[in-house]
Structures are given as structure tokens and as C-alpha cells.
């Protein structure tokens, strides 16, 4: 007794009836079809991206390791040591100690500057809230994601490390790519 799907059903897909000769023929045919499928994969060639040699370009808004910025014309640091980034940080990984700028020793454009600016990257969750909180765009999320290290203390990035250019540029994906 086969199941009646109703009059409004036009096409019912049913599994083939099991049968000795027909079943064997179908099994054989399906096996050949499977072999054809895998053979086609062989000719397509590998899709692997050999990671350390080739890198997948990141998107422009990729949130990688932080960067601190300077003004391009004067060379002064943009950061004024307001600690808003540290306040916004949900992982509590930013430590800012501010100091007063003096006429002899002018570091930033504002009244104060960050004497100590440390980001503990082993705690950072790369949420980008520090970037959003910064009133002067002094801290942004860069594109680097290769930050593994042998030592936990090596992952605490100081102000000098964050201000410097990264050692190796991460490839960036262009618009529409």
C-alpha cells in the first residue's frame, strides 16, 4: 500500500524500488557516478592557500592589532592621554598613564600626553571599542593578525611598538575584491 500524497501533489519523489538486477545495476551506476565526481575534483587542482607563504588579504575594516598614530605634518602624537579607550575596554587590557606636556618636551598636540600606553594583547578581544571611544582617532585597529609569541609578557605592547610601522605588512583587500 503506497502512500497517497493527495490530488494537489503533482510530483512525488520516491526512492527507487529495491530489486535484484535493477538494484545491482543502479549501485554500479551510482558508483561510477561517484568516481566521475571525484575524478573531476582531481583536475580542478588544489584550492589550498599555503598560509605562511600566501596570505588571504584582509578586508579594510578588519580589526587586527592596534596602531597609535602621529600627526603627519608635525610628527606629534595624536593621543592626549585621556584614558577614554581604557574606560571603554571591556577586557580591561589598556593601561594609560598621562603626563603634562611642557614647552621643552612637547609630545602630543593637547595639554597632556600618554607617558605610558600599554595594551595587553593576550587579554584584548579585538572588539574595536577603543577605536570608537577615541576622540582624536589616535588609536585605530590595524590589519596585523600574526601576533603569536613565546612569552606572555612579550604580548604587552608598549607605546613605541604601537606607534611604529608593523614589521610586515598584511595584504589588504581592495574595494570590490
Amino acid at each position: 500500500m503506497t502512500w497517497n500524497p493527495g490530488d494537489d501533489m503533482l510530483v512525488v519523489q520516491r526512492a527507487p524500488q529495491p530489486g535484484a538486477a535493477g538494484g545491482a545495476y543502479r549501485t554500479f551506476g551510482e558508483t561510477l557516478r561517484g568516481l566521475k565526481t571525484t575524478m573531476a575534483r582531481l583536475f580542478e587542482g588544489p584550492k589550498t592557500i599555503s598560509y605562511p607563504e600566501e596570505k588571504v588579504p584582509v578586508y579594510p575594516r578588519f580589526r587586527g592589532r592596534h596602531r597609535l598614530h602621529r600627526f603627519e605634518d608635525t610628527g606629534l602624537e595624536k593621543c592626549v592621554g585621556c584614558s577614554l579607550c581604557a574606560a571603554a575596554c571591556p577586557a580591561d587590557c589598556i593601561r594609560v598613564v598621562a603626563a603634562e606636556n611642557t614647552p621643552e618636551n612637547r609630545v602630543s598636540a593637547g595639554e597632556r600626553y600618554a607617558a605610558v600606553y600599554e595594551i595587553n594583547l593576550s587579554r584584548c578581544i579585538f572588539c574595536g571599542y577603543c577605536e570608537v571611544a577615541c576622540p582624536f582617532d589616535a588609536i585605530t585597529m590595524g590589519h596585523d593578525y600574526e601576533m603569536s609569541d613565546y612569552n606572555r609578557s612579550d604580548l604587552i605592547f608598549t607605546k613605541e611598538m604601537l606607534l611604529d610601522e608593523p614589521l610586515e605588512r598584511t595584504p589588504l583587500r581592495n574595494e570590490g575584491e
Binding site: G34, R41, L42, P46, T48
Partner: protein, 343 residues
């Protein structure tokens, strides 16, 4: 020249020193071919899955098998505390021994003149030919069985049980599938069977037998889709779960030599051995022709492995006994009738 020996008739006999040199060379060839098959399998399997495969050690990963073997050979030689020491060490040796012994009778060419000395390009042309292979195939069970039993582990034991059941059921169908060829050739000697195929390869009249042989060959060598004895997903690794280091390498090696032997038997029985259609290559090319054909089978082994999922245990059993065995019997029967009717 037929020389009667206590155990079997031998078709062609060289002086003892030629036989010694020949056995060393054959052994060396088997040992050299296995890493190539190993690398070919890993590379091909990777390409079937859109990967590169091993490409770090040496140019294009060519030294990968060497690195693997060095790694395995330098590992600690351990054994589980529940194992039976002597059998545990003996089992991989049996596997390896039988695999190499079966390799000895593969014919790679006719009798050739090498430096003024007639040399048969095979280990031995025994009159019992295929039976010799099956005899050593049967002893090879002991390697798997003892390995699983002596490990003293439940997964090894389950794997060994499966291996025993599977190998015994498929050996019957395998033997019967070759009966057709033997009846057509009228001899058991492998070089003579190759000679008998000078007009037409036996794959044409014996196509059903070839398919049955191929399927049971996959089961005999524990290859996917019949790799139930090692079924890594269910049984960890079956009979070689508790093996490591050089002992594991022996099992591994034996498996690949078995693939070569089974491919070689298939080439000899169905694909005309060293003969090529339409052209008659010079004698020194014979071994290369055979190896090219063997590598076709190795490719097929990898291709099937990349395609088909593993069978369920009851499917395996019912397929072996209810499909392959009757089919092989029928094939032998029909061949017998045809052979008698024609002659």
C-alpha cells in the same frame, strides 16, 4: 625445462647464485616501490580533496616517506602491559614476511638474457603459481589475528576479528574469480598465463571475473571501502591500535606490499602482464610495462578510497557471501562450459 622439486614444479631454474642475486634485487625493488606508492597515494588523495598533500620535506614533498620511516624507526619500542610479548613482536613480522614472499612470484618479464646469463624476470616460476599467492595470503591472516590478539586490547581484538571474518569470506570469491582465467589458460604458472594472453587479454573474456577479483582485492588488502579491520572512526585503528614505532611501520609496509602484490596479480591475470597491444616492446622494457600497469591499479585503489564510504559490517558480509560468491561461481561455471564447448 621443468624440474620437479619436493614442493612444486618449477618452470625455469637458474644457477643458485643467480637466484640469490635475484631475490636480493626483488626485495630491494619492493622496498623501493613502497615509498613511491605511499607518496603517490598521499599526493593523489590530497588532489582528490583539493589539497596539496605533503609538500614540505624535499622537492614537492618527495622525501616525506623517508621522513616518516625515520620517525617511526627511531620511536621508542614499547608494548602494552597486557600484551603477550612474543606474539606481539612476531605478528608484524609474519605480515611483512608473507607480503614479501607473495611478491616473489610476480612475473615482471619473460626469460631474458642478462650479461650472457638467462634470467627469468621473476622470483620463481612455480607450477602452482596463484595457489602460492593464496597460501601466503592465508598465512598473512595470522599476522593480523596474532597482532590483534596479542595486543590485549579490545579494539585490537575487534579489528582482528573483523579482519579474519572479512579476509576469509573474500578470499573464497577471489579464488573463484580466478578459476575462469586458469581454465582458459590451462595452467597455474604465472608466466605461462601471461604468455597465453598474447592474442587477447583476459580482461575481455573474463570481465565479470575481473570485477569480482577487483572488489575482493580491495577487501583482501583492507583498503577503503572495505577497511573495516582498521576503521579508524569506529575501532581507532583495529588490529594495529596498540602498535607503534617500527612494528607499526612493518604493518604499514606490509599493507602497501600487499597492494602491490594484488595489483601485480591482477595485471598478470587480466591485463596481459608485460605484453602491450599492437606493439612488441623489447625485453628490457618488460618490467617497466608491468610497473606502469601496476601503478594504474594503485591509482584505482586511491581513486576508490577517495570516492566510496566504508561499508557497514553486515553489508560487507552479505555482499561477500550473497553477491560475490554466487557470481564468481556462476562465472567459473559459464567459463567451464564455454571452454569445453569451444575445445
Amino acid at each position: 625445462m621443468t624440474v620437479p622439486l619436493p614442493l612444486a614444479e618449477v618452470g625455469f631454474v637458474e644457477p643458485w647464485w643467480v637466484q640469490l642475486i635475484k631475490s636480493v634485487i626483488l626485495f630491494a625493488i619492493a622496498v623501493q616501490i613502497v615509498p613511491i606508492v605511499l607518496l603517490a597515494e598521499r599526493k593523489l588523495l590530497a588532489r582528490f580533496q583539493h589539497r596539496y598533500g605533503p609538500n614540505r620535506v624535499g622537492p614537492m614533498g618527495a622525501a616525506q616517506p623517508l621522513a616518516d620511516i625515520i620517525k617511526l624507526a627511531t620511536k621508542e619500542d614499547f608494548r602494552p602491559s597486557t600484551s603477550i610479548g612474543f606474539l606481539y613482536a612476531l605478528a608484524p613480522v609474519i605480515s611483512l614476511l608473507t607480503a614479501f614472499a607473495a611478491f616473489a612470484i610476480l612475473p615482471f618479464g619473460d626469460v631474458a638474457n642478462v650479461f650472457g646469463q638467462d634470467v627469468g624476470l621473476y622470483g620463481l616460476d612455480v607450477g602452482i603459481g596463484v595457489l602460492y599467492v593464496f597460501a601466503f595470503g592465508a598465512i598473512a591472516f595470522y599476522g593480523l589475528m596474532l597482532g590483534g590478539w596479542a595486543s590485549g586490547s579490545k579494539y585490537s581484538f575487534l579489528g582482528a576479528m573483523r579482519a579474519a571474518a572479512q579476509l576469509i569470506s573474500y578470499e573464497v570469491a577471489m579464488g573463484l574469480s580466478l578459476v575462469g582465467v586458469l581454465m582458459m589458460a590451462g595452467t597455474l604458472s604465472l608466466p605461462a598465463i601471461v604468455e597465453a594472453q598474447s592474442n587477447v587479454w583476459y580482461i575481455v573474456p573474463q570481465f565479470v571475473g575481473f570485477l569480482i577479483f577487483l572488489v575482493s582485492a580491495f577487501a583482501e588488502t583492507n583498503r577503503a571501502p572495505f577497511d573495516l579491520p582498521e576503521a579508524d572512526a569506529e575501532l581507532v585503528a583495529g588490529y594495529n591500535t596498540e602498535y607503534g614505532g617500527a612494528k607499526f611501520a612493518s604493518y604499514f609496509f606490509a599493507e602497501y606490499v600487499n597492494i602491490l602484490v594484488v595489483s601485480g596479480i591482477a595485471v598478470t591475470m587480466f591485463l596481459g602482464g608485460w605484453q602491450l597491444p599492437f606493439v612488441d616492446p623489447p625485453g628490457f622494457l618488460d618490467p617497466f610495462v608491468v610497473f606502469a600497469k601496476i601503478f594504474l591499479f594503485v591509482f584505482l585503489f586511491v581513486w576508490i578510497r577517495a570516492t566510496l564510504p566504508r561499508l557497514r559490517y553486515d553489508q560487507l558480509m552479505s555482499f561477500g557471501w550473497k553477491v560475490l560468491l554466487p557470481l564468481a561461481t556462476l562465472n567459473a561455471l559459464v567459463t567451464a562450459i564455454v571452454v569445453v564447448a569451444v575445445s
